[in-house]
Symmetry: C2
Subunit: 319 residues, 2 copies
């Protein structure tokens, strides 16, 4: 007989993560009680990860836990928010003690790393899926939306694009990978890094931001639509690994999805700040990849310019 | 090909519910921005409903939507909170337009009824399941927990117990029902009423409260454990329908689950307030069913006293 919720939660999920902002009442009641400090607004997002859709069925419970929280933290990062609390709704096909131990241990590690506290949730039996709802905090009015980009703004992305899609293709046997890229790419798909290190930079300089979960072309399009502007991106400036660069397989970087890097826009007058940021943050490099324009949406490729207006966003691999 | 999230959400879920507390930034960005008014605390809960576990597979999309929000609102009711915002994570096996229309229409109706605004979420493809996360607001420190019950307190429940379990047994062909009970009982399982009408009453008089989603005996036990007290409940005083009363099938009321009524404790000196409440609220009657004691957990049945200490809580029917 499966263990009921009231035995699984205290055993595996009672003490996960510590936040700078302590909950007034955490797990063990009908709901959690949270106090938003004066001068702050709450930033809330929810994301579900389904086995076979958002991660391959054979993904380890440690990777699943990391990714489930990371993709939600990435949404907070894109808003310029600081993580505070999260709720977990966990659906599992059976009560496997080893799975639960490994999952909760990994969840605890990433929660500690980003200082977010698990304050409630529920568990059910069914096909494996994980829903996490995160709440972050931001100084009033200091959040970054998708709607502030202006013609002339620079377009930047963090990290390298395409590694996650390449990692997935490798794990699914659709693509070979050089040995030196295997860890980088499989980590990108299984253990994405939410770019919360960019929170201050975004608040200081960004006019718009989004996280690249559905691929650069589709996600930048959301900024363009919301801001009513256009864009030109330069293929040669896309930050990609050496294999994509040499093989020219830029489709992984443009539409691959699941990178969880940030795409942001900022006035060109702050260009020096990019150099300074990159000098101080070797693990989270920013790369200028193009410019916001009045209208249109184009990719400057090797020899020609490609109209991206009707490009489709990424569909998760199981869809 | 299924419709992607960015077409389903604007089409069916763009404008659901209006809250007294407007969101600063709602759907269409990486996260929602919400401002908690001065003097209030946020009350947060999440619940997942899975087809075949929390509702029979053949349940109508209108009933599913109602129940998915209602069970979350019930958690807010148990805390003495007022609904403000919710996030929806919807997993559907395919994009059925009629299903989505009916689901979203019903979601809109219950969201309007309880003045809660849909501020974000995501959609995925997979086995049908619905996760809703609700945020309510409560005056600072005025929330009701499970831990405040004192020996001598009265134990009350709202509504009638056992109707949901009876309705489920009927829908599954496990039990016949008198014609005059069919609507009452199937509505109880498919369209539970969150007892938000009791918010003021709870804040004024209750020492502890919980929603009866897993059955009275198991849920009251959570109050006893958290408050470190005992209880005596009187079977004859349980509010049940005439069939349960005449057949003596009190197991539906004691352990049936899914009733989403509230169980609360309050000092006996406020007893007159119960009478007054019942006179003014014919649709949400409160019934005194027993008393908090120093220790032990007993049911005073027809001829004997039954020790409930080791009774098990309700397990959802698919588990």
């Amino acid at each position: 007989m499966p263990q009921a919720e009231f035995t699984i939660i205290p055993k595996y999920f009672a003490d996960i993560g510590v936040s700078e902002w302590t909950s007034k009442l955490s797990q063990g009641d009908d709901a959690a009680i949270l106090e938003i400090p004066d001068g702050k607004q709450a930033v809330m997002s929810v994301d579900t990860l389904i086995a076979g859709v958002h991660f391959p069925l054979e993904t380890s419970p440690a990777d699943i836990a990391h990714k489930a929280l990371a993709v939600n933290l990435s949404d907070l990062a894109a808003m310029g928010a600081t993580p505070a609390w999260f709720l977990l709704s966990l659906t599992i096909p059976d009560t496997n003690e080893h799975w639960l131990e490994t999952f909760s241990q990994s969840l605890s590690e990433i929660a500690d790393q980003y200082q977010i506290e698990l304050v409630g949730g529920d568990t059910c039996h069914g096909s494996l899926s994980i829903t996490i709802q995160v709440t972050g905090l931001v100084d009033k009015g200091k959040y970054i939306t998708r709607s502030g980009a202006q013609p002339g703004d620079l377009i930047l992305v963090s990290g390298q694009l395409g590694n996650a899609a390449l990692g997935l293709a490798y794990l699914q046997g659709r693509s070979k990978l050089d040995d030196n890229l295997i860890e980088l790419c499989t980590n990108s798909i299984n253990r994405p890094t939410p770019r919360l290190c960019l929170t201050d930079f975004l608040q200081d300089y960004a006019t718009a931001a989004i996280d690249i979960s559905d691929g650069l072309v589709g996600d930048l399009k959301h900024i363009l639509d919301k801001s009513r502007v256009g864009a030109l991106i330069r293929q040669n400036d896309l930050p990609v690994n050496e294999w994509i660069r040499s093989s020219g397989a830029y489709e992984y970087a443009l539409g691959g999805g699941d990178d969880y890097e940030l795409c942001l826009t900022m006035p060109s007058e702050y260009k020096d700040q990019i150099t300074r940021w990159n000098q101080n943050n070797p693990d989270c490099q920013l790369q200028e990849i193009g410019q916001i324009t009045e209208s249109g949406y184009y990719l400057q490729a090797e020899k020609n310019s490609i109209d991206l207006t009707h490009s489709k966003g990424y569909q998760h691999f199981g869809e």
